[in-house]
């Protein structure tokens, strides 16, 4: 441009000087602020960015990895992502701490001492592959395919490959946990709607009735969900009412909070449904048109759930139940959501069904501002596909129970991104089983880090973390318009690690015996390209090149399509067994000094994954037992005093956090702290590494907290098979 005037010139000159002087640009006249870019502070140049997808929790937000001199310098949000819209949570940013973690496994490891001793010998990939192939071949030779067990994480895209490998091997068992809160939720949603996933359409709602969800801190669609919920609350003035046993961040910011006795949400939900029915506040038309039950049958069924009875069960006042039910029914649109607090119980499946029913009562199923079932693309992996094995168990706790009892033989156990000892209930049982070579003769673990479980493995394979690998995803679209997201390597895998996919492909070829037939697609990129080819509109847009450039592809021609139910009747199926409230038997008579122990998630932690992220551990590293002030006074406990918490499985000792914000009969612990084997960062003591900041870790002086899972017994919901995480009864004593 020749029109540069003197002032501009001076500005430029001055700017240049300033850059020389301080390395920073001088005050200028910036353009309107943009998103999705990053500038280097040292060179003043825009950084190169590569789009990908976060995997620090199941929400799968679009990210941009910013590079400088071949290193990932920062992680930002991808503004093109229609779900997260370029926003990120703390964990998403701290993914960087995983990538450059000083405790990543340097190479394949073979156990050198006894199981669990933590003695390792570094071996080559070739050696490792051969040994695993040998073990698998032995199973093939003895026709014991079924004794190969593959346990995988919640990571959706690798589930498909894991399934492919297990099926090709003719194993009958792969295990993975259900993403949606707990398998209970998914089971109920599937039962009623035929869909696999459901979520509140909180962007358009005017009333949110929340049973045990904590979306301000944890949600399986955290960043996408919370921003819409906040928009509705501020822009539409949506009211939020939360039932939780403690003052979570969500409860503490709700318009109303009702502390409730654990496990009794279903009762309150049904009592509200009863109020809505008996006062004629329901959407009769919707019930008649869209459910397979009838108003008359409903009223009859619900009449057992009077607010008065609900009060005696749950501790929530009948008058409040009536008032909230009426508000919920008259504010349109309104939505009832359920979270871990309602679902992670052994009556969780029926609780979720009741919540769906409550939505149906006011016509809020699959409607704007109601409870929706966002479907992503069904990605179709390349052919040939192996025949489906008979048993694909979605939950995994009782695998170890069965192995312990000797009813489940195991030949080779392969675990990927799985930390059963830490994250499972009855951790001790699980570690005993894993320790026992007669029960589990061979255990391979695939993980970027050594954790409490792969400590017992015979071979550990270092996995590339999510910033170093390929995956194709279609997350549940909050706006109802499905989209495709590409996870691609932002950098090459560090050290000698390999992606899970590459490990399986290589193994398939080494194992042979027909397994390799299903892995002829070559590399993971090709597998992904094959899936892309089946979406013509995406191919038109540029296919994988488009995705590699933008990270996200949205089919803008599609409109959200609602009301296409996948159930046999084409309606929401609440019949033949209308939802009921099932009391939890062992909760019924709590003795003096006994409490319900529930667990919860911190906003900066993700279960067993994040304790080695320095930026997150620095924020939350303690795990005191939350206890109500009144109960504490009775036990003459002050803040910081130590208590012994004892369940049927044993006890743990931890300081207390005395608060007004918890039900007097409940004590609570978070589930992501108290690590005993996850590298050095969680311990918070300074150490030397390539990262000079590890010399500055400081939280070790506070201790590293306890973990509740060793004292949480295995308890399963007979319907959805989900674990009763919040069902433990404990005694607490001052020590």
């Amino acid at each position: 441009m020749s029109g540069m005037n003197r002032r501009d010139f001076i500005k430029w000159g001055a700017g240049g000087m300033a850059l020389l002087a301080t390395g920073l640009p001088l005050e200028g006249e910036p353009a309107p602020l943009e998103k999705g870019k990053s500038i280097s502070r040292t060179t003043g140049r825009m950084r190169k960015s590569i789009p990908s997808v976060c995997m620090m929790c199941p929400a799968s937000c679009g990210i941009l990895g910013y590079l400088e001199y071949g290193k990932v310098i920062n992680i930002g949000g991808n503004p093109l992502d229609p779900n997260s819209r370029g926003r990120l949570c703390a964990k998403g940013i701290a993914g960087l701490n995983h990538l450059y973690n000083p405790d990543r496994i340097p190479s394949p490891l073979r156990r050198a001492g006894k199981r669990g001793e933590g003695q390792w010998k570094q071996i080559s990939w070739d050696e490792a592959f051969n040994e695993i192939a040998l073990r698998l071949n032995a199973l093939q030779a003895e026709k014991q395919h079924h004794n190969f067990i593959l346990r995988n994480a919640w990571d959706l895209s690798s589930n498909d490959l894991a399934w492919r490998f297990a099926s090709a091997f003719d194993s009958s068992t792969t295990f993975h946990h259900a993403v949606l809160e707990s398998p209970n939720g998914a089971f109920a949603i599937h039962d009623v709607s035929g869909h696999s996933i459901g979520v509140g359409d909180v962007s358009h709602t005017r009333y949110i009735l929340n049973f045990g969800a904590n979306p301000y801190e944890s949600h399986y669609l955290f960043v996408p969900f919370i921003q819409r919920l906040i928009d509705a609350r501020i822009n539409l003035g949506a009211k939020m009412v939360t039932f939780d046993v403690r003052i979570s961040q969500t409860a503490g910011k709700s318009d109303e909070w009702f502390p409730i006795i654990p496990g009794t949400d279903g009762m309150v939900v049904l009592a509200m449904a009863y109020v809505i029915a008996s006062e004629g506040l329901w959407d009769r038309e919707f019930i008649e048109r869209w459910t397979n039950t009838s108003p008359a049958r409903l009223l009859r069924h619900l009449s057992a759930y009077t607010p008065k009875k609900a009060e005696s069960v749950s501790g929530v006042r009948a008058s409040d139940i009536k008032r909230i039910a009426a508000e919920f029914a008259t504010a349109k649109p309104s939505v009832a959501i359920g979270g871990g607090g309602a679902l992670k119980h052994i009556n969780g499946t029926s609780n979720q069904k009741s919540i769906l029913l409550l939505n149906a009562m006011v016509g809020s199923l699959d409607t704007k501002g109601g409870f929706i079932f966002p479907q992503g693309y069904l990605l179709d992996p390349p052919d040939p596909k192996p025949p489906k094995s008979q048993r694909m168990n979605p939950e995994s706790q009782n695998l170890f129970v069965r192995v312990a009892r000797g009813t489940q033989p195991v030949g080779v156990l392969m675990t990927h991104m799985d930390n059963a000892v830490y994250r499972g209930p009855n951790s001790k049982l699980i570690s005993h089983v894993l320790e026992d070579e007669s029960k589990i003769p061979f255990h391979v673990s695939i993980d970027p880090f050594l954790n409490e479980s792969n400590l017992y493995a015979d071979i550990v394979l270092p996995e590339a973390i999510y910033l170093e690998r390929w995956d194709l995803l279609s997350p549940p679209p909050m706006e109802g318009i499905p989209y495709i997201a590409l996870r691609q390597p932002i950098v090459k895998p560090m050290a000698h690690s390999l992606p899970f996919s590459e490990i399986l492909i290589e193994l398939a070829h080494r194992v042979g015996g027909g397994v390799e037939r299903y892995f002829r697609f070559g590399k993971m990129e090709h597998y992904i390209e094959a899936m892309i080819r089946k979406i013509p509109k995406l191919v038109d847009a540029g296919g994988i090149d488009f995705l590699m450039d933008k990270g996200i592809w949205v089919n803008s021609e599609l409109k959200p399509d609602r009301k296409r139910l996948k159930t046999p009747s084409g309606k929401y199926e609440f019949e033949p067994s209308l939802p009921t409230y099932l009391p939890i038997p062992h909760h019924q008579q709590l003795k003096e000094g006994e409490f319900h122990l529930i667990t919860f998630q911190w906003n900066v932690h993700s279960y067993s994954q994040t304790a080695n992220c320095k930026w997150l551990m620095e924020i939350v590293h303690r795990n005191p037992l939350w206890i109500n002030e009144e109960a504490a006074k009775r036990m003459s406990l002050n803040n910081g005093d130590r208590v012994k918490v004892t369940s049927s499985l044993g006890s743990i000792v931890t300081p207390v956090f005395v608060t007004q914000g918890i039900h007097p009969r409940v004590v609570a612990l978070s589930d992501s702290l108290g690590r005993w084997n996850y590298g050095r960062t969680p311990q918070g003591k300074p150490f030397q590494s390539q990262d000079p900041e590890t010399n500055l870790l400081w939280w070790g002086k506070h201790g590293t907290g306890v973990h509740p899972n060793p004292i949480i017994p295995i308890l399963q919901d007979p319907l959805g098979e989900g674990q009763g995480w919040m069902d433990t009864v404990v005694k607490a004593e001052k020590v």
């Binding site: 924020i619 939350v620 608060t659 007004q660 914000g661």
Partner: protein, 299 residues
């Protein structure tokens, strides 16, 4: 209202014992200089023996004091920025000049004193007095202008620092004289009146110091919440052992008793103990001001 903090961060204390020590040493220096001028500046003949000791102490202490400052700097090699880029609104800048001029004046003043040139000694002694006052007054300003800290941010802080400088300076001089007379030159006969006179001056300045501290506390106690809490911190909070126990009781009350009681006021060891306690008390005061002031939470 019941409030529970779920999350907050802890902040490191930016200044600590080194700065307290610096304030203490400049105070001692200023105090001893002023005492030295009693004889040479104001012609109070009975204090003549203190003139030389005073100026030597004043100069020595002022050489050591800035060292503590320098060590406390995160970038000690950049100390010259203080002269090159000075910002006049900052009391540290005032200090830069004072810490340059005052020792120079001390040296000149001392030079003439040792040469026996009384006229010039007097001139430089008189020039030195405002300098000495400012040298210590400015440290009071450093705190007073730290408006973030309620314990510091008071107009009475510079006078408090001046008076406490006098207190500690007098105590030190007394101690020095006692040591010189009764330890080093043990064999010779000495006239104790100088020590008694110093004791009287010490009493007067301790009383003045107590009045100022009392004034400060009274205002803190009746001012806004934060000020009130700061006062409570001194009276019955975490700093009360140091404040009531060391600064007030050991550092003021006991010395006053020793110096005023008819049984001990002429008793040299008693005066020595009193002086020592006073010096300890004033050091405690510097620590309370700096560290106590910074330990009041801001966020």
């Amino acid at each position: 209202m019941d409030v529970n903090i779920i999350y907050n961060i802890e902040h490191e204390m930016p200044l600590g014992i080194l700065i307290s020590l610096y304030f203490y040493l400049t105070g001692l220096s200023a105090g001893s200089f002023i005492i030295s001028t009693f004889a040479y500046g104001f012609g109070m003949v009975k204090f003549k023996p203190l003139g030389k000791i005073g100026v030597v102490m004043a100069t020595l202490l002022l050489v050591i004091a800035p060292m503590t400052l320098l060590v406390d700097l995160e970038q000690p090699l950049r100390f010259w920025h203080l002269i090159l880029y000075l910002r006049i609104t900052s009391p540290i800048t005032w200090g830069t000049f004072l810490l340059t001029l005052y020792p120079m004046n001390c040296v000149v003043y001392g030079y003439f004193m040792f040469r026996g040139d009384m006229k010039r000694t007097k001139i430089f002694g008189l020039i030195g007095i405002p300098l000495a006052l400012m040298v210590h007054g400015y440290t009071g300003f450093i705190l007073a202008l730290g408006k973030a800290r309620v314990l510091w941010n008071t107009a009475i802080m510079p006078p408090i620092f001046l008076v406490s400088a006098m207190v500690s300076g007098l105590a030190m001089m007394t101690l020095v004289v006692i040591i010189k007379d009764y330890v080093i030159q043990r064999k010779k006969e000495h006239d104790p009146t100088l020590i008694y006179d110093l004791g009287k001056l010490l009493v007067a300045s301790i009383v003045l110091d107590l009045i100022l501290i009392g004034t400060d506390l009274t205002v803190l106690l009746t001012s806004h919440t934060e000020a009130y809490k700061a006062a409570v911190m001194l009276i019955k909070g975490s700093f009360s052992p140091l404040f009531l126990g060391v600064e007030i009781f050991l550092g003021s009350i006991i010395p006053l008793l020793l110096l005023l009681s008819p049984f001990t006021k002429r008793w040299i060891p008693g005066i020595a103990i009193a002086s020592l306690l006073v010096m300890i008390g004033i050091f405690a005061m510097r620590c309370i001001m700096v560290i106590g002031g910074l330990s009041i939470p801001l966020s």
